[in-house]
């Protein structure tokens, strides 16, 4: 049995603090490590979810390669936004393997991804990492687990609603819908909207798609 003196423990904590600053509260990106009391999922459920994630992903093109991750970190190094994520892309796969599904699905990683596909083209194991993050986004919604920062999710859902309504994007409504819980944010978009308006580039009305009623019906059926 290894036991530490309190002084040794303090040193160890400092070591972790220095080597893994993203695991502490000290970094400016607002990350707080998960307190275990916030995790609710029992082992059976997380094992099931883990299985589902592997199964679903192996259906996608080249999805079986997920198991071949060698933890090299090329994805994290290529990612232009890994610095802002709570867990880097490599870390997410490690957590998936360790069965920490709830943390994976609650994490910001998938929702910060801007879909630049740098990880996908560079992964030496051929994992389509961007597509894997799309899957995590869908799985989280299916399992009813909300990500810590909900803005990306709000935007994606609002976009889907706008498409269901008109068949095409309609930016003013998208902005209103995605900020419905934070109306104050809308004010922040005003200068940009005015700029667009001054150049005649602000859509005033949604454009009409003749097949919109078919699209509305199809989207209702497609994923249910």
């Amino acid at each position: 049995v290894i036991s530490f003196t309190s002084n040794q423990l303090k040193n160890l904590k400092n070591y972790i603090y220095l080597r893994f600053p993203h695991k502490t509260e000290s970094v400016g990106n607002g990350f707080k490590p998960f307190p275990t009391k916030e995790l609710h999922m029992n082992e059976t459920k997380s094992a099931n979810l883990s299985k589902q994630i592997y199964e679903e992903f192996s259906k996608t093109p080249e999805g079986t390669k997920l198991r071949e991750c060698i933890q090299c970190g090329t994805c994290s190094g290529s990612c232009p936004v890994s610095r802002s994520m709570d867990y880097t892309p490599r870390h997410i796969i490690a957590m998936l393997r360790a069965g920490r599904i709830e943390e994976v699905l609650k994490s910001d990683t998938a929702w910060i991804c801007a879909s630049c596909y740098s990880c996908t083209v560079r992964c030496p194991a051929g994992i389509k990492y961007t597509d894997f993050l799309y899957l995590l986004k869908r799985m989280g919604q299916k399992a009813g687990i909300k990500p810590k920062n909900k803005k990306g999710l709000a935007m994606a859902k609002s976009f889907y609603q706008v498409l269901s309504e008109y068949g095409r994007s309609y930016e003013p409504e998208l902005m209103v819908r995605s900020n419905i819980t934070t109306p104050f944010n809308l004010l922040g978009f005003m200068p940009f909207a005015m700029k667009l308006f001054s150049k005649g580039r602000l859509p005033i009305f949604p454009s009409k798609v003749k097949g919109a009623k078919y699209i509305r019906k199809a989207l209702k059926k497609a994923d249910n």
Partner: protein
Amino acid sequence: MKKYSYYPGCSLEVSCKPYEDSVKETFGALDMQLKEIDDWNCCGATLTVGVAETSAAYLSARNMAIAEKQGDDLAVPCSACFTALKKQEHIMADRKDIREKVNGLLKEEGLEYKGGIKIRHVLDIMVNDAEKEIKSAIKKPLKGIKAASYYGCQIVRPKSDIDDPDNPIIMDNLVRWLGAEPVFFGARTRCCAALLMQTRPEVAEPMAAEILASAKESGADCIVTACPLCMINLESYQDRLSNKFKKDLHIPVLYFTQLMGYAMGISPEKLGIKGNFINSDKVLAKAGN
């Protein structure tokens, strides 16, 4: 006469109208026909895939099914649309379950996705189909202009037949044909931050600033782009980013079709250059001096 089907995508309708203007003008001047596909819808963009898998396939497949009826290669000016359509084309070929479900939904409208239509970015069409025509259509060579070609992400990634994902050169070649000097800069394939500018500005701002700074430091007079979302992120926040990062980050941004059109002697009004946020008169006036 070369003929193409045309899928503009939502942003080109209003918010990025200058791109559409310049695409249509340059195609016209090169005697290539663009025929907009009938009653198209949103491609689903990058967002829908993260919410609903089959819906995303349906949205892209509907456009491709409509384009199939028209037959010619499908010209797509927006990089995000281009990637979304290509992605779903791949999925429709690979996933039988999704293809069957989507075709069932399309049937209600009398459509069917068979596949086989070629989806092509407008940049790809210009460089690979119209090299001779472009070179002979130059009326006002852009000698003296240093242009930084910004590729962004979704033209060359995730899978592209167009060019290398990390070190593309096609737009630089095009810039050279126009008589301008292509400038290499480090951030040419970095991400513009896309929608993060709306959802997570604190994450997005350094990304856009890095691209502007990198282009400026390389001595470029202007940035050239082939994507409406890259354009929005690079041109709209230059004041804010300059203030925030205490660095002059002002630089004109043009669509590659605008630069082409200008070299081909088309008036800046027709190319929508006045519709861009950053005034590029000074840069364009350098041409030939």
